[in-house]
Symmetry: C2
Subunit: 346 residues, 2 copies
């Protein structure tokens, strides 16, 4: 059933080499020959055998996508599906395929190694690697092109695509301060994840720029989950923040729930903001002010960059931070009026 180059060649009255040239868009083929070959190929439904092509060319046109699954919390929101969609669609456009590994610790050893070493893959996209991921070192040793989704904090030789978490967080907190909030707290992500660290950094920068004294009581570590946000909000409550910047929507939702349980009204008593703009953020009660990140484009860019690195291995690291968008909904009003009301009560 699956026809070969040789067959096409015979039917078209040319050599295998010529057919190969046609299939690979080489320049030196006569117009007429090319047309004839193409029509035969079409007729016989020719599809090049990938394995043979890979073996001969030393390139598979397959990208590996590795998702370390220590962070199963991330599977709660649509981050990975969107990222995968972006990667997948960019690959398709560039005539590549995606191979997927959910890197549970045990498998990391066997199958992935095998695939990487076995030349099954031309490059790797490493999604949300932990800062000290051993896979990084393995990849570098192997000399395989790779790119991170999520920047690497220390190693400036590694390529990555990330969202500009610092700026985004800074803008959000600056926005809260501009609204008149004076005790802006934050629920951070886990310390060992760079996104969490960067968002905290942005929070601190905003405070500094606005000359607001920074208060350790108003910073509580969360874990990006709803439950974590709930607990963190409870810890925050005694310190009477008037606004809370949660480093993820999931945590913001948890905070909202804690507030409801504590009988606080949002945004009248306290403002809440999130990060991510997951679909559900538009339907919380009240709808959540948050930051939208271009997850899908980021995935696409990662794939495109990697493909580019594979074809032009100049060794230069590619590093990109993508911009975010502040989505204003209903979880924070102007605080000025409220403060007046509070004052007049006294």
């Amino acid at each position: 059933m699956p026809s070969t180059l040789e067959e096409i060649a015979k039917h078209a009255g040319v050599s295998r080499s010529t057919v190969s040239r046609v299939m690979n868009d080489h320049p030196n083929v006569a117009q007429e020959t090319r047309a004839r070959v193409l029509s035969v190929a079409e007729r016989l439904k020719y599809q090049p055998n990938i394995a043979a092509r890979s073996l001969a060319a030393g390139r598979t046109r397959i990208l590996g996508l590795v998702i370390p699954m220590g962070v199963s919390a991330l599977f709660t929101d649509p981050y990975f599906p969107l990222l995968i969609q972006g990667i997948s669609s960019a690959c398709s456009s560039n005539d590549h395929s995606v191979m997927l590994w959910i890197a549970e610790p045990e498998y990391e050893r066997r199958t992935i190694r095998q695939a990487l070493q076995g030349g099954m893959i031309d490059g790797v996209i490493l999604a949300s690697a932990l800062m000290d991921d051993p896979m990084l070192e393995a990849l570098r040793k192997r000399g395989l092109p790779f790119i991170l989704v999520g920047r690497h904090p220390t190693d400036d030789q590694v390529s990555y695509v990330d969202v500009d978490n610092r700026s985004a967080a800074r803008d959000m907190v600056a926005y809260l301060i501009r609204l008149g909030y004076e005790r802006v707290a934050t629920i951070t992500g886990p310390k060992n994840m760079i996104a969490g660290a960067d968002r905290l950094h942005g929070y601190l920068t905003a405070l500094r720029e606005r000359r607001v004294a920074h208060n350790a009581d108003l910073i509580v570590e969360g874990d990006f989950t709803e439950e974590g946000g709930y607990v963190a909000m409870q810890q925050l409550l005694p310190f009477a923040p008037d606004a809370v910047f949660a480093a993820s929507d999931a945590m913001a939702v948890g905070a909202l729930r804690a507030l409801r349980d504590a009988g606080k009204r949002v945004p009248d008593d306290i403002a809440i903001t999130g990060f991510d703009d997951v679909p559900f953020a538009a339907r919380t009660d009240p709808p959540l002010t948050t930051i939208r990140q271009p997850i899908q484009p980021m995935g696409a860019l990662a794939a495109e960059t990697l493909i580019n690195m594979i074809s032009h291995p100049d060794g230069q690291p590619h590093r990109v931070l993508m911009p975010t968008e502040l989505i204003i909904r209903a979880t924070c009003g102007s605080n000025v009026r409220r403060r007046k009301a509070v004052n007049s009560k006294q």
Copy 2:
């Protein structure tokens, strides 16, 4: 860097054939020879070249996972991540890899075709295909082994793994009736998805078995999303159901929101149940009674079954329905007391 069979052979003082036998666990190799070859392979960090192996053996040990992306609604909940995790881990255990395609209509044509035809793949897992997916026909024509996640309603020659949606829905509705609810409504999934149809079927079966008259006003079609659930609940409200079986947790959450907006209390005024047991279901207000499905095991089973079909192509379709679990939380109480209270008021 990447060593070859030939090298190992030279170092071990045997022929390429013998090394190949050792690497593939063929029986007829002397103990001592095997040990020697293995130690050399280990020392030189030998990894077989996948492309070469595939070309020669005509098998790639790669499974394709195709996810049709018309149903982007499904990307909202963690269904696919879990499914992928199950598939990926089963593949790893069986020394296979997973290639992923998000089948947006345009790509379906190009890359996937290429991969399937190009022999890049030994078999395909087709996740939540629509009933009339053209890919089905293409796969069959190509003679490539494949398996569906989600049963096929009409074609009994195709292999699939699914959850027993009918039984699960029937059990849930029977449970509601047993609790004393008398006007049990349902918010269904979209008609063209078999899971939706099956859950409706289960609902109807339960009514019939309990000899409850079936009322068309109490059946509203949703689309598996939160928003759809909200709208459907609003449509249901005038017909005064005392319990609602939503065919997905997302829709149940939407229904909950509609109820809150309408000033109804759950479960005092009305009971709500969902389907899926997404993580968030445990943290709705009140926590949602729902049905848990073994998504990850289902993915794993699909992969294992497919691998089995590839090695033993007997042509027999494999069909499995996996059991679900009723998770009782707080969105439906006993209705007996409530009815008494209502009656005494009159």
